[in-house]
């Protein structure tokens, strides 16, 4: 040992006299040949020099793989420096020369037995880096020994080597039992071994999402927390990142872990701090909000986050991206720290932009004056992106803090006066948003805006300006001239501008029809005839049709009152935010994207979730998900735009619908109302030749007042009613006995696979005049589900939940719960295809899930659906024959009386019965919740199992569904 060390010493001295940089210079042609000779030289010194040259060539990108055998020959040396150089070469080229690489195996295996722990570790470390199968086979035995080596330095290297081997051959690692050995190392006496074992296990676990490899339990957690105090800064990061994946059993465990993690917030290493913040942010979710410790913890988080801003700029950037997430999740932490996010003159641009974002998020009435003064200052800086963002920020402040709106607008006007092109354009874009938030308040500035029309050259600004002109056309005297000027270059505009221009001119026309007829025709023909953009053409056609069919309706549609825009437009969607909070400190938090968006393969694809809160029933109190379980939340200020059905589903505000709906329809028949549900618009959009379904009558397409509010709900309506009882009644079939309405058996609506473990099966029923949705929720996931809520999309009959979804206890894994949800029919209406289709969104603490199901239309048959005989006759005649449909019901073995009884249970009433030539004719009526009457003639011939049914209705669309209900009722 002494010998090689001395030699090393001499060599080093030699090396330091003639510096290494000379190796970078040689670029002769016969270089490889010369190197070959030198590598095979007898002189050790020359050999080493040659290897150095080879490494230098390799670094600058020259291909020196031809020297493989010669370099490998130098491996068997006791000179540690030379050995390391040869190993480095091997790691780079072994894969391209697998057969040659095998020559090195013997030396590796021998080195793994070397008395010097540094050499043992070096060998096992390098061997793991050589991704050649043949070598990997030989690695197993030495690795097994090294994992149990007496020296911690060797063990910590071996621990990482298991992860390397797993990356090459996962099966081998499992077969050889290395995973168990690795798990044992978590209990190692040396903290660094523990840390590396944790790192390796975490990595391996990522590619086996369900393996429970880490098996985190209170005992291992305790071991990790102990090691946390003793290991290197890097080890602390590995351990904290691993801890963040643990879900504590209850709030007490959560608190005790938090208490042991908080000291890390004072670590000099920012990554340790951020990883600690991650653990705390996650575990905090489980603490009851009324706990003193919860408040303490919130206070403790602010200072270290602020301190991160005095780190180097690159780290500041990472910290700011994370703070952006943290203030969205828990704005209270940093609400008093606005000043630290003020931009410094010589901050790098990426830091400036991020600070600006956070300033807006923290802006409130209390600090708005300061913020505005700052933003105004920034708007005069040099960097274009930054200036734009600052201008935009002023607009966002106006929208967010109402009291500041006026000041913001005047600041923006000042900026427009500067005439700096991009400032003006940006200002106009944000002023448009301010108009939408505060309509009829700041229109006096329009004149100033119009002065700058010519300088706008960016599509977004042009579109915004055009929107303003169209929206306020009646107040701008020369609106038609302004819009006409844009029209000249219509085809050169971007789609955004074209669409906006089309709409603006149509608006103008509806407001000032006399002077602008020519203009509107021009734009409509430009859009529909000369454009190859399908969106533009479609929009053009819709307007055209609308204007030519019914200008009144057009006015109601085009000039409809717009919903106000939301305060925070760029908030990260809550489920993504929750996932990103679980990734604090990592690249995902920097990109604000889930790992699956930028990591290839299986790694990192599992979605992480925040744990649900325990203790008090109250759920998350931050505003974004605030109304999750709230029973009497105020209705949200933002109205989702009409017809935006996706938006409707996504924007799960889950406010329970009010039970005081519009007044019930008058007793007069409202046949034909079905068309109003949407037929009008449908026919506008559909093919020209399709006949209009019914009379549009000039009323808006949205029929809001059709539903009758349900009769007073019996107190017991939430009690689960077993289906068996109904069947008994059915069998009894006694005349005059009220029979339960038919209810189909439960079917699976939402399979667990599609809903992260939540399975929903259900059915609909009408009980005592109340429509009910009966569901079985089953938790097939590993974690507890809470905070259930439900919402329907608008549907044909305005079905909506009459109350919140009552799931009072958390749903444990493998548990099922029966829920009955009473429904009413006063919700928003939209025609669905098929008519009885219902789109449902269910939310729980994990995510939001969507499914659709179909309800039997018989559910909607009301109790007072029995028509007077005379009325029946008159109506039957009155409905045109075109509206009659005939169906066959096959294989039904009931006689006419039994059928009549059965149908009556479902509110299908027999008004009269005639017998002609052995054929029973039943005349029946039923009324839907929205007042539509359906008339039926059912023909039953004794001995013939096939019934014939004729249905007549002013809204023939329902016939198909009614027939299905007949079939279902009669056959069950």
């Amino acid at each position: 040992m002494q010998e090689w060390a001395n030699q090393l010493c001499e060599n080093r001295q030699f090396g330091s006299k003639m510096t290494d940089s000379k190796y970078f210079t040689t670029t002769k042609k016969g270089e490889i040949f010369e190197l070959k000779a030198e590598l095979n030289s007898d002189k050790k010194e020359k050999k080493k020099e040659a290897v150095k040259k080879v490494i230098a060539s390799m670094t600058v990108g020259k291909d020196v793989s031809a020297l493989f055998p010669d370099v490998v020959n130098c491996m068997q040396t006791d000179n540690l420096e030379l050995k390391k150089l040869v190993y480095l070469y091997l790691m780079n080229y072994a894969k391209s020369q697998p057969d040659m690489a095998i020559m090195a195996v013997n030396t590796f295996v021998k080195d793994c037995e070397d008395p010097n722990p540094l050499i043992r570790a070096l060998a096992v470390r390098t061997m793991g880096c050589i991704r050649v199968d043949k070598i990997t086979e030989y690695l197993c035995e030495p690795l097994r020994k090294c994992l149990k080596d007496e020296d911690p330095y060797v063990r910590k290297t071996a621990a990482v080597c298991v992860a390397k081997l797993h990356d090459i051959n996962a099966q081998l690692v499992e077969d050889q039992g290395f995973l168990d050995t690795l798990k044992d190392l978590i209990s190692d006496s040396n903290p660094m071994v523990v840390a590396n074992a944790v790192a390796a296990l975490s990595e391996i676990a990522e590619s086996h999402p369900n393996s429970n490899l880490l098996d985190l339990n209170p005992q291992t957690i305790n071991k990790l927390l102990t090691a946390l105090n003793e290991c290197t800064e890097w080890g602390q990061i590995f351990i904290l990142d691993c801890l963040a994946n643990y879900t504590p059993r209850d709030d007490r465990e959560s608190q005790s872990i938090c208490e042991r993690v908080t000291p890390r917030l004072s670590h000099a290493n920012s990554a340790v701090v951020l990883s600690a913040v991650k653990v705390l942010m996650k575990f905090m979710e489980m603490l009851p909000k009324d706990l003193d410790y919860y408040g303490t913890l919130l206070k403790k988080l602010a200072p270290p986050l602020v301190t991160l801003l005095s780190a180097e700029p690159e780290l500041q950037y990472v910290a700011l991206r994370n703070i952006n997430l943290i203030v969205q999740r828990r704005p209270e932490i940093l609400k008093h720290e606005m000043k630290v996010f003020f931009v410094k003159y010589n901050d790098p641009i990426y830091v400036k932009l991020e600070k600006l974002d956070i300033m807006i998020r923290l802006a409130s009435q209390a600090n708005i004056a300061q913020v505005l003064a700052e933003l105004k200052e920034y708007a005069t800086e040099v960097d274009v992106d930054f200036v734009r963002k600052a201008v935009r920020a002023i607009g966002r402040c106006a929208i967010k803090v109402e009291q500041s709106a006026e000041r913001c607008v005047s600041t923006l006007l000042d900026l427009i006066q500067t005439k700096v092109n991009y400032v003006v354009q940006e200002a106009i874009v944000v002023i448009k948003d301010i108009f939408r938030k505060y309509p009829n308040k700041y229109e006096s500035v329009i004149a100033t805006l119009c002065e700058n029309l010519d300088s706008l050259d960016e599509p977004e600004a042009r579109a915004a300006m055009i929107w303003i002109v169209g929206e306020y056309a009646e107040r701008i005297d020369n609106a038609d001239e302004l819009l006409e000027s844009f029209l000249e270059g219509f085809h050169d505009e971007s789609t955004q501008v074209q669409l906006q221009l089309l709409t603006a001119i149509v608006k103008l026309f509806l407001k000032k029809p006399t002077e602008t007829q020519e203009l509107v025709q021009q734009v409509l023909s430009l859009a529909t005839q000369d454009s190859d953009n399908p969106d533009l053409r479609d929009r053009g056609y819709i307007y055209w049709r609308l204007l030519s069919t019914d200008p009144v309706a057009a006015k109601e549609v085009v000039l409809a009152e717009k919903p106000l825009i939301s305060e925070e437009t760029d908030l990260i969607e809550p489920t993504l935010l929750e996932e990103l909070i679980c990734h604090i400190g990592t690249l995902a938090s920097v990109y604000h994207k889930p790992p699956s968006a930028f990591v290839e393969g299986s790694r990192g694809v599992q979605h992480k979730r925040l744990p649900g809160s325990a203790g008090s029933g109250e759920s998350v109190e931050s505003p974004d998900t605030g109304s999750a379980a709230g029973v009497s939340e105020a209705p949200p200020a933002v109205i989702p735009s009409q017809g935006d059905l996706l938006g409707d589903l996504l924007n799960l505000d889950l406010t329970p619908p009010t039970t005081t709906g519009p007044p019930p329809p008058s007793s007069g028949m409202q046949m034909g109302a079905m068309d109003l549900l949407g037929g009008g618009l449908d026919s506008l959009m559909g093919d020209e030749s399709e006949p209009l379904g019914g009379d549009l009558g000039g009323s808006p397409a949205m029929g809001a007042g059709f539903g009758a509010p349900p009769a007073a709900m019996p107190a017991s309506f939430t009690a689960p009613v077993s289906g068996g009882l109904d069947d008994l009644f059915d069998l009894g079939g006694g005349v005059g006995m009220p029979m339960g309405a038919y209810s189909p058996p439960k079917t699976v609506w939402l399979p667990a696979m599609k809903a992260k473990g939540l399975e929903i099966s259900g059915t609909f029923a009408r009980r005592a005049g109340v429509i009910q949705m009966e569901m079985t929720l089953t938790n097939k996931a590993m974690s507890v589900m809470t905070d259930f809520a439900i919402q329907f999309n608008r549907n044909s009959f305005g079905l909506a939940p009459a109350g919140p979804l009552q799931v009072l206890t958390p749903l444990s894994p493998n548990q099922s719960i029966e829920v009955t949800l009473p429904l009413n029919t006063v919700g928003p209406v939209m025609k669905m295809e098929p008519l009885n289709n219902l789109q449902v969104a269910v939310k729980n603490n994990i995510d939001v899930f969507y499914f659709s199901c179909q309800y039997p239309i018989s559910m909607l048959f009301v109790e007072d659906g029995k028509m007077e005989r005379q009325v029946f006759l008159a109506t039957w005649k009155d409905i045109p024959n075109d509206n009659e449909s005939q169906f066959q019901i096959k294989d039904c073995h009931l006689n006419s009386d039994a059928a009549s009884n059965k149908l009556q249970g479902s509110n299908i009433f027999t008004i009269a019965k005639r017998t002609v030539e052995g054929q029973d004719m039943l005349y029946q009526s039923m009324k839907l919740t929205n007042g539509i009457w359906v008339l039926a003639e059912l023909r039953v011939q004794a001995g013939n199992p096939n019934y014939t049914i004729s249905l007549k209705c002013r809204a023939p669309e329902v016939s198909q569904c009614v027939f299905q209900s007949y079939e279902a009722v009669l056959k069950n």
């Binding site: 001499e10 080093r12 090396g15 990061i237 670590h267 990554a271 990472v318 010589n346 995902a588 990109y591």
Partner: protein
């Protein structure tokens, strides 16, 4: 984890490249001319080139220290004109990667001084050796220079006995990885520097928009054995606590002098859990120089200077600037290296300056008037006035009026921090706290000290 680490010179030539993971190679960059080859080495070169083309040679200023090119993430830091880039394909801990890159710079500096192309080329074998040791499969390992220098040396290791080897490994992996056993000094000495940088942003009207002090306690310890140290300062929380418990007369006096620390971070030698529970700072120090703690204060900061600007635009071709500076500390103390930087518009054609004290010069290349004063005592005032001639321009863009900045150095801590004690205990060796010679020094420097005008 980190997939690879590259060091480039300013031209984008690779000086060092070390690949830890196979996955990073698969970045295919169309600007790379030769076809992709299956060999590992060539794969990696694609990543190397992708970074050069997209970041180093990018026309635009770097917009982010993290760049994603073809699903590969590049983290970079720059030291003078050398680029260090870490590459990964996974969702790594981003903060850790940057911390590691800084650490890598520290380690290299500790070994061979300034990070320059020449030094890197001269030490490339050493750098590879270090990279092999401090990153394993992309996981950072012990990177304390104190420990590394015991077995990775430029001068070679002298004879290693078995005991010495195991001492090395136990130090590298041990709980006290930053200090080796058996250090001996004839004279036990301690140097303690309290270095503060005071930051200010003031409005033209003299309103403090933001002010904070970021301070560092830097120690040089030359102590024998494994000494246990305890550091005390006038931390408000500690002093209030003591005040409650004991001597009441003392509490009133010291309470006034105590300071509220917003936040502090410590070198890894400090026992954090002890600080968390008792707020006492105890540690076994590394040998030589290191940074014991960093802290931040925002309350009751002594602003050593006040800058009063007055800018007047006289017509379109002339600016009049008057700046008064006032020193605000004890008259017996002297501030040094005072420099006031008054920015001038880009179209400045000429400047006349008159100052009462020091020297002032217009530096056209820096677009600023630089006013330097060697020394200035406390509670004094000085003034500069300048006339700036402007060339008429058509440029619509208004001059941004960057803030007036200031540099200085003062012999006190603007936060008010005082060192109360630094006790040394070494039970195994025969020296006591009294035998240790201790030196304490306070230096306050300007950080970003700006007044808008």
């Amino acid at each position: 984890m980190i997939g690879g680490l590259f060091i480039y010179n300013h031209k984008g030539e690779v000086l060092i490249s070390r690949v830890y993971r196979d996955d990073i190679g698969k970045t295919w960059n169309p600007s790379y001319t030769s076809p992709p080859s299956p060999s590992h080495w060539n794969h990696m070169r694609n990543a190397v080139d992708a970074f050069r083309v997209n970041v180093i040679h990018a026309r635009q200023q770097v917009r982010s220290p993290v760049t994603n090119i073809a699903r590969t993430s590049f983290f970079h830091v720059k030291r003078s004109n050398i680029w260090l880039a870490a590459v990964t394909k996974q969702n790594v801990n981003a903060a850790m990667v940057f911390e590691f890159l800084y650490k890598m710079c520290d380690v290299m500096t500790a070994y061979f001084g300034k990070i320059s192309e020449e030094n890197i080329k001269n030490n490339f074998v050493l750098i590879y050796e270090l990279l092999d040791e401090i990153l394993d499969f992309g996981y950072p390992q012990n990177s304390e220079t104190g420990a590394l220098k015991t077995f990775i040396t430029q001068q070679g290791i002298k004879g290693q006995t078995k005991e010495e080897q195991s001492q090395i490994t136990s130090q590298v992996t041990g709980q006290i990885g930053w200090r080796r056993e058996g250090i001996k000094y004839r004279r036990n000495e301690l140097f303690l520097d309290v270095l503060e940088s005071v930051n200010l942003l003031m409005s033209p009207q003299g309103q403090v928009l933001s002010a904070h002090v970021s301070g560092r306690v830097v120690m040089k310890s030359y102590l024998s054995g494994m000494p246990e140290c305890k550091f005390g300062m006038n931390d408000k929380i500690v002093i209030d606590k003591q005040g409650k418990g004991g001597a009441s007369d003392d509490a009133g006096k010291s309470g006034k002098q105590s300071i509220a620390i917003d936040d502090c971070t410590f070198h890894q030698c400090v026992r954090l859990s002890k600080f968390d529970s008792e707020r006492s700072i105890s540690f076994i120090p590394p040998d030589g120089e290191y940074e014991l703690m960093r802290y931040r204060t925002t309350k009751d900061i002594i602003l050593p200077f006040r800058v009063i600007p007055l800018v007047r635009e006289v017509g379109r071709t002339k600016l009049e600037v008057k700046v008064v500076i006032k020193s605000n500390f004890k008259p017996s103390l002297l501030a040094q290296k005072i420099e006031v930087r008054i920015p001038t518009p880009l179209n400045t054609s000429g400047v006349q300056v008159i100052c009462m004290k020091g020297k002032a010069k217009y530096k056209a290349s820096e677009n600023a008037i630089v006013w330097k004063i060697k020394r200035m005592a406390g509670m004094k005032e000085s003034q500069i006035s300048a006339e700036i001639e402007l060339l008429p321009t058509n440029d619509k863009k208004k001059w941004a009026r960057p803030p007036i900045s200031m540099n200085f150095e003062v012999p006190f801590a603007p936060s008010g921090l005082k060192v109360r004690y630094l006790k040394v205990f070494e039970s195994k060796l025969n020296y006591s706290d009294h035998d240790v010679i201790k030196w304490v020094r306070y230096i306050g420097r300007s950080g970003i000290y700006e007044t808008r005008c």
